[in-house]
């Protein structure tokens, strides 16, 4: 299965701008399916971005975050070619991780 994570990290002027898209249903636990049954809550709880052993961004998410969440941030001190590892875990214990290179 293809990774659930899409990411683009671009270095410019000593900053690295990161954009990511994570494929996840982010069910809030309040929605019903077409049979009227509650769809159980299923959402990402933590997302981390790590480069060269250092965490540069952490997000604690809850059921209010949209489906297939998009995230954009930038950090200082990165350079082209640095590895960047993105990982998420959700409330059902599922997780995914992806390592990319800063372009």
């Amino acid at each position: 299965m293809a990774s659930t994570i899409r990411v683009r990290a671009i270095a410019a002027d000593g900053n690295v701008e990161v954009q990511s898209l994570i494929r996840h249903p982010m069910d809030s636990g309040f929605m019903k399916n077409d049979k009227g049954q509650i769809i159980p809550a299923h959402f990402i709880q933590t997302v981390t971005f790590e480069t060269k052993g250092k965490i540069v961004f952490t997000a604690f998410w809850g059921p209010a975050i949209s489906k297939d969440p998009y995230l954009k941030f930038s950090y200082q001190g990165g350079a082209k070619g640095d590895p960047l590892t993105i990982s998420w875990t959700d409330n059902e214990g599922m997780s995914d991780t992806l390592t990319t290179k800063v372009a």
Partner: protein
């Protein structure tokens, strides 16, 4: 404001002149049984002239972006969105689905000429065999039926992904929906035009054109209305509000909910007729599907 009213008057006058035009123009003049005369080519020219007068800086391609075309702030939003398009996953799945092989060895490319490249600009079209408007989703399901596959729900995710991929394969092709010389086709077109332009709908009591022709652009409630010209060229579109892909028909139904239109028999047929009318008057606007909408 005065300029806007004047422009609206120009459009009204040109539409009147269309209605009064002698029989025998493009789609064939007076229909048997005394139906209204329709001239889609003249309607399309009038629509394009109206918007060109109001928004001279916009190119035809800009209109496919809907509301994003009419407001500098929204245009910036769209540029940011498209750096990392929310349609990414729909297109990935759509490409996979489009390449699928049916049980009898056929693929979607078997049904659609040119391996499905450049077909979206011809839809929705009038299908004489069906006796009504055929959307791309219906054509996809016909293809599945011909190869013994179960139909997909028309407003489901799988269908939206497929339509996104087919739209992508038609990227940049000018919309080319025409109204054939057929009394039924002309009647559907005339119905779509009448509902869109004239009918005051729902408890809100506004017509489609009140927002999407005269009211196109930023409105008093700070929402921006898409211009009618080219409004379907970016569909199916990922709705950031709905969090999923919407077809043009589903989006039109959303407008009716906003106007608090009580459901009535033939409502779905009216939505199809509106989609058909909008596609026919948007001829020449390049397809830019899958698009993004607020």
């Amino acid at each position: 404001m005065a300029a806007r009213l004047a422009a609206a008057a120009v459009l009204a006058a040109s539409l009147l002149s269309v209605a009064a035009a002698p029989a025998g123009q493009e789609a064939g003049g007076q229909a048997p049984g005394g139906q209204a005369t329709v001239d889609p080519a003249a309607d399309a020219a009038a629509m394009r002239a109206y918007f060109h007068t109001r928004f001279p800086a916009l190119s035809l391609r800009d209109y496919a972006d809907g509301p994003y075309a009419l407001d500098a702030g929204m245009r910036k939003q769209l540029q940011d969105l498209m750096q990392f398009p929310p349609t990414t996953f729909a297109l990935e799945d759509g490409a996979k689905r489009f390449a699928e092989t049916f049980g009898d060895g056929a693929t979607y490319a078997t049904c659609f000429p040119g391996i499905g490249q450049g077909i979206a600009q011809d839809y929705p079209r009038f299908d004489a065999k069906r006796g009504g408007v055929e959307t791309l989703a219906m054509a996809v399901n016909d293809c599945r039926a011909a190869h013994h596959a179960a139909p997909l729900p028309v407003d489901g995710e799988a269908m939206a992904d497929l339509l996104a991929q087919i739209g992508k394969l038609s990227d940049g092709k000018p919309m080319a929906v025409t109204v054939p010389d057929d009394p039924h086709a002309r009647a559907v077109y005339a119905r779509g035009r009448a509902v869109f332009d004239d009918a005051k709908r729902g408890t809100v009591g506004m017509s489609c054109a009140d927002c999407h022709v005269a009211g196109a652009g930023p409105g008093p409630d700070r929402a921006t209305r898409a211009p009618a010209l080219g409004i379907t060229a970016g569909f199916p579109a990922y709705s950031t509000g709905a969090g999923r892909m919407l077809t043009a028909e589903a989006r039109i139904a959303g407008c009716d909910r906003g106007l608090h239109v009580a459901p009535y028999a033939g409502m779905a047929a009216d939505h199809l007729a509106i989609a058909y009318y909008l596609a026919a008057v948007s001829r020449g606007v390049p397809v830019a599907a899958p698009g993004v909408r607020p």
